[in-house]
Symmetry: C2
Subunit: 231 residues, 2 copies
């Protein structure tokens, strides 16, 4: 295989990385904007998130097409094949993060400024934790920091704990005053979406680690979440 072909394959891998980075930036932006839209009842911001999702979907399609063409044309082996397949998987998770942010944005109207004031801070805290994770996972992948990726999964546990706390607070508001119930059920789905974004970050960290090292991260810890808040 000539030098030219090798360089060109690397170039194509870099193109995939660039798309992953773009998608990561859009995912962070969508998550942040959707949360602001929700907490400050801003429908213009919500609309922007809904439009961004179209861009996100287009990026994923572009990445998928490039990756599949690359596999078919070049028949990469071992590490190269792992990198291409890993990119497809990471893109799928980033696209799902966009969908979850869009779903938060779509609930802005239904909550309609009726979110209990006391919930702004805890939801914002949770969103910031999630946002930081989305940024870190993409950054650590594109800068090849495999060891640092392992820490992200532990951080996800903190998000789950914060989610459980928000879940409990939401239940309390609903029990206190039935007029809170409609807005709070939508906030419940929003908090759940943030928690699920955290889960997708964990998936991305696992895939990125596998791409970089060829190894699996150890089997995941059992999740602690709102299901432990029973009856």
């Amino acid at each position: 295989m000539g030098q030219h072909t090798v360089t060109s394959f690397d170039q194509e891998l870099e193109n995939l990385d660039r798309l992953i980075r773009d998608m990561g930036e859009i995912a962070s932006e969508m998550t942040q904007t959707a949360t602001r839209a929700l907490l400050y009842s801003n429908t213009a911001l919500a609309q922007r998130v809904i439009s961004d999702d179209v861009v996100m979907d287009a990026k994923q399609r572009e990445l998928d097409e490039r990756a599949i063409t690359l596999i078919a044309k070049r028949q990469p082996m071992a590490q190269d094949l792992r990198a291409v397949v890993g990119a497809i998987r990471m893109a799928a998770d980033l696209e799902r993060i966009g969908d979850l942010a869009k779903n938060i944005a779509k609930r802005v109207g239904a909550v309609g400024g009726n979110a209990p004031r006391g919930l702004t801070q805890p939801i914002e805290t949770m969103a910031n934790m999630v946002l930081e994770q989305v940024r870190l996972v993409v950054d650590r992948y594109v800068t090849r920091q495999d060891e640092a990726l392992t820490k992200l999964r532990d951080e996800d546990e903190k998000i789950d704990i914060q989610y459980t706390s928000v879940f409990r607070e939401l239940l309390t508001y609903m029990m206190e005053d039935p007029r809170n119930i409609t807005a709070c059920t939508h906030l419940l789905f929003c908090a759940k979406n943030l928690e699920r974004i955290g889960d997708h970050v964990t998936n991305i960290a696992e895939n990125a680690y596998y791409v970089l090292t060829g190894l699996q991260l150890p089997v995941q810890r059992p999740k602690q979440d709102e299901m432990t808040v029973s009856s």
Copy 2:
């Protein structure tokens, strides 16, 4: 390309189809069992769903590996490449259906037999609608009924309507008696999961149609769901 090679490629495509069929059966079974476990507070059934998810994940990994190897080894073009990539996408949706069923199963303990009686029928109706869709989409794909696939998407609208009705009933129970709130929030997530299983069926129908015809189904209708039940 010799006859032997051609036959063998078809054989490998058939293997992918067999895995899709297996995954479809597991997905239906998991959805049905999880719903029964939830409505009749049966933790042994719930546990079975959680174990089945391990089988589902293994099937998806097998399909992914076979598909990627097939692309790398054979460099399929046009329709063949579409079939292999389509199989990867359908498998991802079926695996997600398994995850959603597992999530329902994991809520059985938290609901703990406290589901309002009046909700059994509406949730069961919704689950049956979803179940029928999961079975039909896989059947129509493996028997190459492309026209029949287009109808599945319209059926999904009926699921969304049933979901909105269940959502409203849940809100009513919560407003009537705060003691219903904890169980009802978990049921809300379960109903949402069923609705999302319906969305994955729609994705599968779109992918299957594309694999069989090379055409996209027309752009999807706007969704009608609980977000229209606002303030």
